[in-house]
Amino acid sequence: LPRPPPAAAGSCAVGPCGRRAYAPPAERKRFYQNVSISQGEGGFEINLDHRKLKTPQAKLFTVPSEALAIAVATEWDSQKDTIKFYTMHLTTLCNTALDNPTQRNKTQLIRAAVKFLETDTVCYRVEEPPALAELQKNEWDPVVAWAEKRYNVTIGSSTSILGPNIPASTKETFVSHLASYNMWALQGIEFIITQLKSLILSMSLIDRHITVEKAVLLSRLEEEYQIRRWGNVEWAHDYDLCELRARTAAGTLFVHLCSESSTVKHKLLQD
């Protein structure tokens, strides 16, 4: 059966036929020498040699921010012999924003994002082992308190299996806050929330209250506790850690680059 093209595929679809189920897909070799950026009508475009990069749905790959275009170009340029799409997180995010394959509008994205609050990681507490409960209290309480203060809402935490009881006004506040972001940034925000499994940690990251490394650490708090207790398994724990860090960092950068508008004001030096 022909295999569907990978998520971040370039201009041509990859479809080797007659492959067996467990054989790895044939990797695309790097088919371009130079990667450059050009400015088109809709924004900035990526050129692989003389060809323009396209999304999986064959739309022209255009991004609104030059810094984002440069970062995507760097991703393509850093591929050595084969193209490893699983390392090109910014490209994937841009493709998702351009194609919108799940065909969700702004309201649906916001709803999906705020829905995560009901099962937010930092609100779900254990009662035992006591060391872990203590760790959760010390590490997660400050973040929840910050979010409550910053957004003027009540969130709280819970040890029950049903999770915290989030008042409707809290959800309303987050809905109206997220509505201030544009569609691209919202795709990024929803991506970060899905990775970190927490709306609060994601907002904390987007508001620059914590770094990516810290957000990932807080998201994986129980895992880190168990690792410290039972030992680290490099091919599983470190692999997941690096992947989560990469994706979260890509999401955060994507959101910031899609929602900023920088102006440089030059002050004249007065002698």
Partner: protein
């Protein structure tokens, strides 16, 4: 605002990561030039706590985390990830056989 450390340290680490990512002519890459230009542009400011400066530094730290984690993830993937099944040709080759060549295809 998160505690980010010294901007100079971030800049040096970021340029080092870009060097790893780019290869030989890393100094001409658009990313290298953009990062240097951005850091230079935000260096001079009359305010003590410049918000734009902090935002740029946060972006730089985030990009550094991205480049570093992608590199480490790829290294782990190379080392530990399975290579998948062998092809029928390779399996036959294990015991010294070769698959028959059928010009018309099977069946």
């Amino acid at each position: 605002m998160a505690t980010l450390g010294a901007p100079l340290r971030t800049l040096r680490a970021l340029l080092r990561e870009l060097r790893h990512a780019a290869g030989r002519c890393y100094r001409d890459s658009p990313a290298y030039r953009h990062v240097l230009a951005a850091f230079r542009a935000h260096r001079v400011t009359s305010e003590k706590l410049c918000r734009a400066q902090q935002e740029l530094h946060f972006q730089a730290v985030t990009y550094l985390c991205l480049l570093r984690s992608v590199r480490e993830h790829e290294a782990l993937h190379r080392e530990y990830h399975g290579r998948g099944e062998r092809s029928p040709q390779e399996v036959a080759g294990l015991v010294g056989f070769r698959l028959p060549q059928q010009p018309g295809g099977k069946g």
